[in-house]
Subunit: 338 residues, 2 copies
Amino acid sequence: MAQKPKLQTVAQLAGVSLATVSQVLRGAGRISEETRKKVQLAAKQLNYVPDGRAAAMRSGQNREIGMVIHQIANPFNAEVISGVSDLLESEGYLVSVLDSRDDPAKEARNLEAFIRSARGGLLWVPAGEIHERALALLATHSMPTVTFLRKVVGASFDHVGIENTAATAKATHYLADLGHRNIAFFGGVGMGQVRKERIAGYVQTLQERGMPGPIVWESADTKLSGLDAAVALHDRHPEVTALVCNGDMVALGACLALPRLGLEAGKDISIIGFDDIADAAVATPSLTTLAVNPSMLGKKLARVLIDRIREPLMPQVCVTVPTQLIVRRTTGPLAACR
Amino acid sequence: MAQKPKLQTVAQLAGVSLATVSQVLRGAGRISEETRKKVQLAAKQLNYVPDGRAAAMRSGQNREIGMVIHQIANPFNAEVISGVSDLLESEGYLVSVLDSRDDPAKEARNLEAFIRSARGGLLWVPAGEIHERALALLATHSMPTVTFLRKVVGASFDHVGIENTAATAKATHYLADLGHRNIAFFGGVGMGQVRKERIAGYVQTLQERGMPGPIVWESADTKLSGLDAAVALHDRHPEVTALVCNGDMVALGACLALPRLGLEAGKDISIIGFDDIADAAVATPSLTTLAVNPSMLGKKLARVLIDRIREPLMPQVCVTVPTQLIVRRTTGPLAACR
DNA sequence: ACATATTGATATAACGTTATATCATCGGTC
DNA sequence: GACCGATGATATAACGTTATATCAATATGT
């Protein structure tokens, strides 16, 4: 239990120099099999773990990468994070995640924290508005950065996102095919990039097919908010028979409101969520939703970052992945009369 | 957009020495008001952010702390993490969380990763079994460590946990008072510390009140598993009219099974969860549960770690916080005849 | 006026690694 | 036996901070 072992300690025990130990442990340079064995044994005996800070500082590389996300508690995001971590850890990186809680000031602090510790790369799901200081800092301390889901307009970061417009267009078409004419877009707050794109797909389809509307209804991204908002929407627009939702959480919240409105999902009203979180399949009735495999998405995100780290001069990358409509029990044909 | 500014750059711009800049930025030493202003201006102009690695290395202090948790996706844990981060960030620390997925090998790798980067402190929710190597590494590289929820037997780490035994005893008494006699303990897997304590409270109460049983039924900690397990339990033990659950997730899973078993929660069967996650209040019917404020718990955890960091010689701390029974709609008096 | 504090600034040696250059030693070739 | 190219090991200077010691210059006390 003496002192924390360092390179020097291992070198003394093995009877070789500092440099030799360093080379053996990194698998670099030309070392004889004999001394290699000696050093490895000594390191094992001492429970030696190299100091990553010193290594990162000297080598100019940092195998810790930082992720700044607008909301960590969301189950969809949680799965994405798993996917990201899996791939990056298998490549020898370590991922730490900071939650901005949709607060630009906190987001700026998070980014600064990662700059301070000189992370080797940055994964960033921007909050609604972006703090001035955040961009300034990121510009001076240039580090490999990939934005995710939400794009920073006018910035040159790599990006991985979802085909939002195509997704909600698909959903709206599907509802129209079922005979629905009064369709609302439900959930989300403000006019962030993602919500704007999703609303665009919905509105476009409405116009293409000559349907009334659009009706866009706000709700924070929790079940409870979704419940309240759904009641309010029904109060104001009782004619609506279908909802294209901004996320599964609000969609499930809306489902919770139905009993007290005297409606049944899939019969009186059709609801389509977004994300396909675990609860969507298990809820009663199960939720029709727009799915994108979150762990695959996370892996793609990680892959782009790794490429950028390895190849700093690579041209800007921008990937969007398609969604899949998973039909379950909250959607059905428009009831003939009501 | 030149190069990343360092202490030297700021010093040149301000026309002072390295040491002076360092002192100004840390608020240490004796510096005249005039030069202080000059330095701060220069730092601001350059968007200077100090390199935390170098600072940590030289000063021997690290304001980054690591958290290793058995399962990050669990909503209760997510709220605890929020509480932890809030308090620690307000004290100038940065928290990074690693998920072990209940895998001792991954847990050991996570702990090693934090040792490698020489985090200033460690928050640790151990997985079921503990890897030999993890304890060996932690022993040689002694760092301030607080275990959470699950205790490591025979170790000298500080600990913050929940009064598990008292909680399930309270729940079981409550069900008995409602007239239930055939009560099962539902959920969890294996004989980890926490589950053992909770089962103990349940069994003790059964014996005290001369009731039949015990019946202990396993289920993994997801809604889906809970659903399946509940069906199986009802199949094997149809006489059971009440469940004390190991967590809200399995409790809600069990609730999902009821319709297809022809039972109604709060009437034919009573169910008590554990954790009071957000879904518990919003589910239909709402879930009676044993609550412990997760964010308060997280804050207490963070507080213990900070105390340990500040006062390394302080005697070992061990805190357990009580739970509160929140009665909602999944519990009710035993139906007279069935 | 002389020793003695006090103030404000600076020079410099760490912290634990890695990268580069250097240096022996040996076997082979002409 | 002088020269050369491998091979295997080592010495040493960074990386960007902070802590300590040092040093002028000014203020204080007798």
